[in-house]
């Protein structure tokens, strides 16, 4: 008969009583060295959770009484006998090979999440978002950017009519629903909001040497709209925070990882938008090099102000090489 040594606590007072535990047909029995009378507890009321590696384990005999084992091996044997199952968690947590596999799979699973699952789900979700929501979000974003003094929307800009004409061509060519907002900020810049609003700064319009360059920029932004890049970014950064937050038990590390992955995703988006622009420019008979040359001037201009923001884009050199290639 299996019997194990340990301590019994009745849950009514704080005394520890040396005792031994045995499993009988319908109950578990606690017997004491010093007292003749033992105690019996119905088997079906005994509760135990799987032991943790490095601890000795204990079981709850009912709502209050508890038996603590002297050794972890005893607990495992008892647990197996009483519940007819093994401590699979305990064995996982104490096997060296399992841990090695664990570490490797952790990196593997994280990589799969970052590289495939999150981008793929963001991609499929991003096309499902209702237009109304996109419009609402875009309005809020534009307002926030203005409140934060990143830019000021210019009503009735001298370039408005001209840019609208160019945008008509883009709309016709790509079939996207696009709107134009001209703004002024400190840098030459252009970006697309989720609802198809393209924001372009007067600084960028001034920087352009001809319409073909502006068309290149507009095609690039239309590419962001086509592939819902804005939504993909918002969805995936939210998902990463949710996945990594609990893993690393705090915001610090998940923010670090977020920053790294963010960079990676955003580079992919830029490449995709460049490819989109290149295809359409070729169709229209404009050389994609036009987009490359305005990019180059933007980079030079921006570098003198702040080298920071360009880091989210693939190196401009790489992009220009891509646009120049046939």
């Amino acid at each position: 008969m299996l019997q194990f040594l340990g301590s019994y606590f009745n849950g009514e007072d704080s005394q520890s009583r040396p005792a031994q535990i045995t499993i009988e047909a319908e109950c578990v029995r606690i017997s004491f060295a010093t007292e003749k009378l033992g105690l019996e507890f119905p088997k079906n009321r005994v509760v135990a959770s799987q032991r943790l590696a490095g601890t000795t384990g204990s079981i709850r005999l009912n709502n209050s009484a508890r038996f603590m084992f002297n050794s972890g091996e005893d607990f495992d044997a008892f647990y197996h006998k009483l519940f007819g199952r093994k401590n699979w968690l305990t064995s996982l947590e104490s096997h060296r090979n399992a841990i090695l596999v664990g570490v490797l799979s952790l990196f593997f699973v994280l990589a799969i999440f970052m590289k495939f699952i999150i981008p793929a789900s963001a991609k499929s979700l991003s096309s499902q978002i209702p237009v109304e929501v996109s419009e609402f979000v875009s309005r809020s974003l534009l307002k926030a950017l203005q409140d934060l003094k990143f830019l000021t929307v210019v009503e009735g800009s001298k370039d408005q009519d001209h840019l609208e004409d160019l945008l008509e061509q883009i709309k016709f060519r790509t079939g996207e629903r696009l709107k134009l907002v001209i703004a002024t900020g400190k840098d030459p810049n252009a970006f697309a909001l989720p609802d198809g609003t393209i924001v372009i700064t007067e600084e960028l319009i001034d920087l352009a040497e001809d319409d073909q360059e502006l068309l290149g920029v507009l095609f690039h932004e239309a590419g962001h709209v086509r592939y819902h890049h804005g939504w993909q970014m918002l969805l995936s950064s939210g998902a990463i925070t949710l996945v990594l937050g609990p893993v690393f038990g705090g915001a610090d590390f998940s923010q670090l990882a977020l920053a790294l992955v963010y960079n990676g995703y955003s580079r992919d988006f830029e490449r995709e938008a460049d490819a989109f622009a290149k295809t359409h420019m070729n169709e229209l008979g404009i050389s994609p090099q036009k987009l490359g040359s305005i990019l180059e001037r933007m980079t030079v201009k921006a570098r003198s102000v702040d080298p920071g923001w360009l880091s989210t884009h693939p190196s401009t050199k790489e992009r220009i090489e891509y646009l120049n290639a046939l």
Binding site: S14, S16, G54, T55, E93
Partner: protein, 388 residues
């Protein structure tokens, strides 16, 4: 002696009576023995548990996190020993999981809300603020009722409406004094929490001093301001130095090189001083919480048991600095080791002074039963920490 026994009797036989103050002289007469807390957790063992927790949480898309949480807590509790017995933690992961599913909505609003409307996160923060006093009571009740030592359960005695009174009062105190009296508010909330603890039928007594909270709080504000000042000074210094360095290549007649080397230097050094700034802030925050743990532990007694904390701040901060360094260098893999080492340092600085055999004399009294229902477990989402 008779007096002592009478007090001990009163202590254990009047439910809800709270602790009785004893003068030090009286306790010394009865031979106080000091029992240090021992922590037997090991980095290598906890690393394995942590890896499995993390992996299973990811694979099950977060469902396992409830089990992971309970197993982590169990590991730390069961490796904390006082008077030859360890602490036990018995929460049911399924209750926690159900609770999380129910209460996950405000959290999702917070995470994703910002992208949909800038107002949604504010709504959820507001909700959390309104619910905090309730959460504090429910979460402490839940976690303490799952915790036991020598078969005796802990519990929380204070009620939700008292929690609202204390929190509202504390909020008003700090708002109307523009934060100057914030330590007073923090003290009142801390006292509310710890004086509500119960072990068996003995209530905890919280006797930390409000003046110590003031001194500590403003001491740390001072240190924080000095850190910021040094940081700003350092950055300014760097600009001056890099200005000098810029001139040198110009003198040799290579202006293009000058531009590159200057921006490169600026970038590296500024990053470095930002890193230095974050490391100091990290350590200041660690020291801040350790100091309050010290104050709270030293101000706590449980019946005849007096808690003492003897934290060596310098050694502790050296440890935390080493931990941070190793965590950065191992891309976070050192995290479980760091957590074990820091917990061990803090826990083992604590001891309990008690008259002989008093550990055997606690009784459970009327147990309100195990609180393990979903509504209570839900509050674990915010995990109001019970400290030591």
């Amino acid at each position: 002696m008779i007096n002592f026994k009478l007090r001990a009797f009163l202590q254990t036989h009047s439910p809800g009576s709270g602790a009785i103050h004893l003068d030090t002289n009286e306790i010394q007469e009865n031979k106080l023995a000091s029992s240090p807390i021992q922590f037997t957790g090991q980095g290598s063992t906890y690393f394995k548990i942590w890896i499995m927790n993390t992996l299973l949480t990811l694979i099950t898309l977060g469902i396992y996190s409830a089990w992971a949480k309970v197993r982590t807590k169990k590991y730390f509790y069961e490796n904390t020993w006082l008077e030859k017995n360890n602490f036990q933690y018995d929460a049911d992961p399924i209750a926690i999981l159900k609770g999380r599913l129910i209460i996950g909505v405000p959290a999702l609003l917070y995470f994703f809300g910002g992208h949909i409307s800038i107002w949604l996160p504010f709504v959820s923060i507001f909700l959390v603020l309104i619910l905090t006093p309730w959460l504090v009571v429910k979460s402490l009740s839940f976690n303490l009722s799952q915790t036991s030592h020598r078969g005796i359960k802990f519990g929380f005695t204070h009620k939700v409406n008292d929690s609202y009174k204390v929190h509202i009062k504390a909020a008003l105190i700090s708002i109307f004094t523009f934060g100057i009296l914030y330590p007073k508010a923090y003290f009142q909330i801390t006292r509310f929490k710890y004086s509500g603890f119960r072990f068996g039928k003995v209530n905890f007594d919280f006797r930390a001093l409000e003046t110590d909270f003031f001194k500590t709080y403003y001491g740390f504000i001072g240190i924080y301001l000095i850190a910021i000042f040094l940081f700003v000074l350092g950055i300014m210094g760097l600009y001056v130095v890099s200005g000098f360095l810029e001139i040198i290549p110009m003198l040799v007649g290579n202006a293009e090189y000058a531009k590159d080397s200057q921006s490169g230097l600026n970038f590296g050094l500024i990053e470095l001083s930002v890193l230095f700034y974050f490391v100091s802030i990290y350590l200041i925050i660690k020291a801040f919480f350790a100091k309050f743990t010290y104050l709270i532990a030293n101000g706590t007694s449980v019946g005849l048991l007096n808690v003492k904390c003897n934290l060596k701040m310098k050694n502790y901060l050296t440890l935390e600095a080493k931990n941070l360094f190793l965590m950065i260098f191992t891309l976070g893999l050192y995290f479980p080791y760091a957590k074990i080492k820091a917990s061990q340092f803090i826990l083992e600085s604590i001891s309990v002074q008690a008259p002989a055999n008093s550990f055997d004399e606690f009784t459970q009294g009327q147990d309100s039963g195990s609180i393990n229902n979903v509504a209570e477990a839900a509050t674990d989402f915010w995990d109001v920490d019970i400290g030591v």
